[in-house]
Symmetry: C2
Subunit: 347 residues, 2 copies
């Protein structure tokens, strides 16, 4: 009926909801045997051989969680999936299915939504996750994306926040603060562009930070690595809202406090350079900056050697009795209280 | 730390995300043995004895799906749950768990969100559904609610849209069009109020229609009834977007068409009266008006007697070979083509 190419530039009013759904989901292929029924009915049907599953839901709002003036829609689609997958991974569980609902204003073109779903498809493909449903509706203003992610487990290795034991090692994957500095750089370039629309941003000095902000990955490789090493963490969380916030979450859930060591915290040279250029203390980036989607977990001390041998993992501290506050010990031996001051949705 | 009473009238900025979540979820109690871990970690954990589950997700947007000038927040919370539960029920499956994410602007008071969650809690309690997670974040404007609902099944009675057989009976529960007329009445009163803010709306003639709009129920009783009657429908769908749209969905999924009979369609006297007052043909309400959340299903003809004896069920037509269009046969014997002209998100 409609010519596909012309529809690309069409407004959403020119296409029915069904046509739109067919268009944006036609290139999705399911991969998991557990997917009995995917998109197209009132609900999806899943069948799990083993009977424990994890489920989480996030919502991303234009102007709050992302700025379309510098975030390409394909990256946004990819990131929306990654953010949610990361919640399942931080239970030590592999994600298998997602549902994606969007509310979108009529100012968007059909092609724009196809870009968004191309990013979603790429993430599904990379993480072996099946898109099984969702909802597509209009909004008065802007774009909202809500993602539900499901994972299932064949074993009892689920890691909750409350499993911390006394004297456990506190371990973090990758490095911290880069996504936050990527955001600062993109925000600065946006301001430059607003003043001079002919300016060409030179982002070549900060490719790592910008990539960490625009196209983060969830650390499914760490889940696989821990499985290989036969290590089950006592607790785990992903770093979406900043290290200090996540440490406080683990502390509140488990009843233990944590001491971390400033000189142990992994931070890339590029992130340090960006901090210096922005005249920000490095700790602002690694303690308070969010969106790195690294995993933070506790393990028994007996795994110290195995963990130390992993390039992707860094022991940054340990759990202590609750009577002590959560604190960071500086290279000069000073104790700094770590209050949660990462991302808070309403402040 | 904070005085509870004073916080009621506080803006959302004055409370942390964690405090807010604790406040709005503290009165929720889980009831299902399958709920291993609910709110408070990165993901919820569920364990099902039987291994098939249904999952659906919806998104509701202020100004598109609801108007807070006449929808009380408690009703909105209740309805948000019902709308999603209805999708699971229309697979012939009982709902067991929900996740609710909200994005909300700072103009809302803490007390307003508590009202919303009180409605959610009431629906959870009525339908024996556990709230197990979600996300709470800010928006630049308005309120969005995204709900994911999960149900699990102990048998193979799942009813998909594609199961229709030739010559099946088409059956609807309850009556149609009342929710749509309730919306017309509320919209009219809103306009009157805008002109004269001192006017007191007299809604007493239309309590049924207004209740159907503001506080719909999902037909879990029909699922139970069909189980008692030992009837497994060949297909099922819920009527959220209007009878004609839902018939078209069943038709497109199954490859059969449907003939329905005008004089069989259940419509309440109050709905008819409202149509007459608004000078609307009754068919606008029952064919195109949505949000009744009744179920529409097909069954084999051999169940005709059992179905006819159920006060809550009406046989409105039957399935025919696809070469015929979907049509409504009037009391004068005329065939009217039923094109989908119910709710479409983008038009």
């Amino acid at each position: 009926m409609n010519d596909n190419k012309n529809l690309d530039e069409s407004d959403l009013q020119s296409i029915s909801e069904i046509e739109l759904i067919n268009r944006i989901t036609k290139s999705f292929k399911t991969k998991n045997d557990s997917t009995i029924l995917d998109i197209g009915d009132d609900a999806a049907i899943l069948k799990f051989e083993k009977n424990k599953l994890a489920i989480s839901q996030d919502i991303l709002v234009e102007g709050v969680h992302f700025d379309l003036s510098y975030v390409p829609l394909k990256h946004l689609g990819y990131k929306s999936v990654v953010v949610n997958i990361s919640d399942i991974i931080s239970m030590n569980i592999k994600p298998s299915h997602i549902l994606v609902s969007i509310a979108v204003s009529n100012r968007f073109k059909v092609k724009a939504l196809e870009e968004l779903y191309e990013g979603i498809r790429l993430a599904c493909s990379y993480y072996n996750v099946d898109l099984i449903g969702g909802d597509t509706t209009s909004s008065n203003k802007g774009l909202m994306i809500s993602v539900t992610c499901i994972g299932n487990t064949e074993n009892n290795k689920i890691t909750q926040r409350n499993g911390v034991k006394e004297d456990d090692l506190l371990v973090v994957s990758g490095d911290l603060g880069a996504a936050y500095m990527g955001l600062q750089i993109l925000e600065r370039e946006k301001k430059v562009f607003e003043v001079n629309p002919n300016s060409q941003p030179d982002l070549s000095n900060y490719t790592y930070c910008i990539q960490r902000q625009l196209k983060p990955e969830a650390r499914i490789d760490i889940i696989n690595l821990l499985e290989e090493l036969k290590i089950t963490p006592t607790s785990m969380i992903d770093i979406s809202d900043g290290l200090s916030t996540e440490i406080n979450h683990l502390s509140n859930s488990s009843g233990f406090s944590f001491h971390i060591y400033e000189d142990k915290i992994p931070i890339s040279e590029e992130t340090k350079k960006a901090c210096d250029e922005f005249k920000l203390d490095h700790s602002v980036a690694y303690l308070n900056g969010g969106e790195d989607y690294e995993v933070l977990f506790t393990v028994s001390k007996r795994h110290e050697k195995k963990i130390s041998n992993c390039e992707q993992l860094t022991i940054i501290g340990s759990s202590v009795k609750k009577k002590d506050d959560n604190c960071m010990i500086t290279s000069l031996g000073q104790k700094i209280n770590i209050n949660s001051s990462g991302w808070d949705s309403f402040n």
